[in-house]
Symmetry: C2
Subunit: 257 residues, 2 copies
């Protein structure tokens, strides 16, 4: 097995570049950090390009890595460099980005979450994890939403990208297609002129749009929805964190499923 001890090694440089969107687009791959995620990728039969681990981690896990995957032993220094953090677990994988094209014209059922310009990577990852937990079929990231395969989003998703569809898409096209196919599309607003969410009964198939942390959903999307609702606030806080609001709405709407 090749041992890599220097951050100047060309492979290390290319792994470190996967922290950027440009690097991921050029290679069509992204990084998993930690055994939990690597294990989820193995279970999901993801396409592996490499496994990199410190000697300790390699010893603990090499037997579980699929045959034929190139394995590299790395130093603790290299592990920190790839992770971009000071305390990585010491095991990584480089796997393919999902290559799926997905046409919403063929979506006739399931629960779907549409993210409109949500910028914080932690929020995006937590929302995908929550959609998975609530039994959603997929999450569609519109233009302006944080990239789903950046290190911070990947950390917050905790492997949920292997359990549901995580897609880029034109939200306007998605909303039109789902509405044509008979799925109600719900928007969420900060505006108390909208409907309190408790008035919407759980349904089997639908789409829910969540909007930007500060500005909310784009007006052009709000106009296309079947209903727009808000979460009534009893206290003095002006708003909820978007991931918390999403959790409340998803678990309310999905309750019947």
């Amino acid at each position: 097995m090749e041992r890599i001890l220097s951050n100047q090694n060309s492979r290390v440089k290319s792994w470190a570049k996967l922290a950027t969107r440009k690097g991921r687009q050029e290679n069509r791959t992204y990084l998993l950090d930690g055994w939990h995620l690597v294990q989820e990728a193995i279970k999901a039969s993801a396409k592996f390009h490499a496994v990199m681990a410190t000697s300790e981690q390699m010893e603990a896990h090499l037997a579980d890595v699929p045959h034929g995957v190139p394995a590299f032993e790395i130093s603790a220094e290299v592990a920190k460099h790839i992770a971009g953090t000071n305390t990585p677990q010491g095991i990584f994988a480089e796997i393919s980005l999902p290559e799926k094209t997905f046409d919403p014209s063929y979506v006739f059922d399931g629960m779907w979450l549409l993210l409109d310009q949500i910028q914080d990577p932690g929020n995006v990852g937590t929302l995908i994890r929550t959609a998975d937990a609530a039994g959603f079929k997929g999450v569609v990231l519109g233009e302006g939403t944080a990239d789903a395969f950046s290190p911070k989003v990947v950390r917050a998703m905790q492997g949920s990208q292997f359990h549901l569809e995580v897609l880029q898409g034109d939200l306007s096209h998605w909303v039109d297609s789902l509405a044509t196919n008979g799925l109600p599309v719900y928007g969420s607003e900060l505006n108390p002129a909208a409907q309190p969410f408790q008035e919407i009964m759980p349904v089997e198939k639908f789409a829910l749009i969540l909007g930007n942390e500060g500005q909310g959903m784009q007006a052009q999307l709000a106009e296309k929805t079947s209903a727009n609702f808000y979460i009534p606030l009893a206290g003095q806080a002006e708003s909820l964190n978007v991931a918390v609001a999403g959790g409340i709405l998803m678990f309310h709407l999905a309750l019947g499923n």
Copy 2:
């Protein structure tokens, strides 16, 4: 007005120390970063020790700062140093930590959130903000929970510390006192042997305990509760983020309030 241009200035050094728990405990003060929080503190009549702002921010806001508060003009460099981030807004305040002692023996009503060893500052801050939004009366941080006045928690609270009680406390003592005073105390577990949360009806007064991100609530607390419940998950995610779980539970229980 004194102008401060160097990070070596003794005042700057003491403000930077407020990023640590030790620094805050020694001074009995903490920092607010950004006009939104400073404004919330003014509205709440917090005890100000200083306002620090770049010339631009000072010009925009000095008129709104209470009379008699020492004001310091700082350079952009000093602002970054105090903030510990690269893009601060450029206005800060140093205010007193809440000095309140709070005896749960005298708590007979309201909704209370008890945080047991929740470590991530973003989760703690978001939970306090969510409790505020749901109309809770206070949040009690048990031993091992992230300090409520660290910069990351303060950022995530978004000023909610001025709207409800944010207290340190011995959770075991709180649970005993509230139960004696007739408030049901609900625990949350990851364990599906607990009760699904939908079976608990909204009530007017109660306490809700949320536990550590990985381990959940301490067993010694779980034994003292009126009921322990969990959020049934339909998908493959193993768990929810604790702030999302807290949001779902708080808004379910508080619905009647």
